[in-house]
């Protein structure tokens, strides 16, 4: 009996500290236990928090080998980290599930998804979405749904996602309704999201007078919607944004007016 050409290669995650990708190639049979445990022994658990086991070229995982992975994971979890599997072939994934591995390990379709998960959870990585659209009010509902779905997909609660949706609705409506007549330029929405907060910058070409009025409204301390006059629709929208967000600023320059909103994750 002999080991079937098991190859193990350890690589850093480009651009990140604290994570490794371990590429396994061949069969992880019970004959390879010492090599697998030896690999986990080489990891500096004081600096490495996250290990991605790239299984794209693995054809067999014995229960003994799985046990070694569990041991490796346990050491990482003790310091707040994790070990995950990536790129498992379909048959192998099914077999690991039958062994109960899916109750312990996270599975990712590829190493990129696993790296993204690490960067999101451990490095609080920012992700960016950029949208440019014409000033048509009918486009606002799809835009706010997009933003809300993205927030939910990144793990924000329904409540937080709804608040984010309301904020973006009001900001976009303002940008369209108070845009400069005849300018017909696109509106720019930049969304930056990380596990702790979401930020939006909406830039449009606006009527300068209306923008000064907007800035004044933002500076005012009036938060009580009931005190606004019935025709102060814009005031209501702004008051709503102020109440739902943690930061709201307006910047006017040659390229247009940028409304910047920051909302911290609450749940």
């Amino acid at each position: 009996m002999h080991q079937k050409d098991l190859a193990i290669e350890i690589n850093d995650v480009p651009g990140s500290n604290g994570a490794l990708i371990i590429n396994f190639r061949g069969e992880l049979s019970s004959l390879c236990i010492s090599r697998i445990s030896g690999t986990f022994d080489t990891i500096d658990y004081s600096t490495i928090k996250f290990v991605i086991a790239d299984m794209s070229n693995v054809t067999l995982v014995s229960s003994a080998a799985l046990g070694e992975f569990m041991g490796g994971r346990k050491r990482l979890v003790e310091s707040g980290g994790d070990l995950v599997f990536a790129s498992l072939q379909i048959d192998l994934r099914s077999k690991l599930n039958m062994m109960g591995a899916n109750k312990i390990f996270r599975f990712y379709n590829d190493t990129r998804s696993a790296v993204n998960a690490f960067r999101w959870e451990y490095e609080k990585h920012h992700e960016h979405l950029h949208l440019s659209f014409p000033p048509f009010l009918k486009l606002v509902p799809p835009i706010r749904s997009l933003v809300s779905r993205v927030a939910k997909q990144k793990g924000y609660s329904n409540r937080d996602s709804f608040r984010i949706e309301t904020i973006i609705d009001e900001v976009c409506n303002n940008a369209i309704e108070h845009g400069l007549e005849g300018a017909n330029k696109s509106i720019d929405l930049k969304m930056t999201i990380n596990p702790a907060q979401v930020e939006f910058t909406v830039t449009s070409v606006s009527d300068p007078e209306k923008m000064q009025a907007l800035k004044a409204m933002i500076k005012s301390d009036e938060h009580d919607l009931s005190k606004l006059r019935s025709d102060e629709k814009r005031g209501r929208g702004l008051a709503l944004i102020k109440m739902l967000s943690n930061e709201l600023t307006v910047d006017c320059n040659e390229s247009g007016t940028s409304v910047h909103v920051k909302k911290l994750r609450e749940e």
């Binding site: 998804s113 950029h130 000033p135 009010l137 997909q153 369209i176």
Partner: protein, 145 residues
């Protein structure tokens, strides 16, 4: 302001599959508010899904890579233009293989997405340059109601 044709929507999103459901639903909803039928919007959603999946799977070599999608919406047709930020040689070879795959090769799933897009579009042009940057341009005409 009411919708005036043609107009353009441009999106840039991270090269991660998890964004794609939100993106495709967004495009579908945009088309529906632009008075395209729900059937047209659904088929366009499929197109956006497939080309975005390919862009992420084959064209995002770096972890920071993003995908750029432009939609030009005319009264009688729409155009999609999607660009990635470069795939590895291995991925580009796989993409070439998928483009050349025969329609019958469904069991192995090679080229299934591209074949679906081809069938749903009036035209599809795929360009892979010497930097391994891929762009796909698709035209889809409004169907008779």
């Amino acid at each position: 302001m009411n919708i005036e044709f043609p107009y353009k929507i441009a999106l840039s999103f991270p090269g991660d599959l998890e964004y794609i459901p939100s993106i495709r639903k967004f495009i579908s909803e945009v088309l529906q508010v632009s008075n395209f039928s729900t059937k047209f919007a659904y088929r366009s959603e499929i197109i956006v899904d497939e080309i975005s999946n390919n862009a992420v799977n084959y064209g995002c070599r770096d972890e920071n890579a993003s995908v750029n999608l432009e939609c030009l919406i005319y009264e009688d047709h729409i155009e999609f233009d999607i660009r990635d930020q470069g795939g590895s040689k291995e991925h580009i070879d796989r993409l070439h293989s998928a483009i050349k795959a025969e329609p019958e090769d469904t069991i192995s799933n090679k080229g299934l997405g591209i074949e679906i897009v081809r069938m749903l579009s009036e035209s599809m042009d795929i360009n892979i340059d010497d930097q391994n940057l891929t762009s796909v341009h698709i035209i889809r005409k409004r169907e008779e109601s």
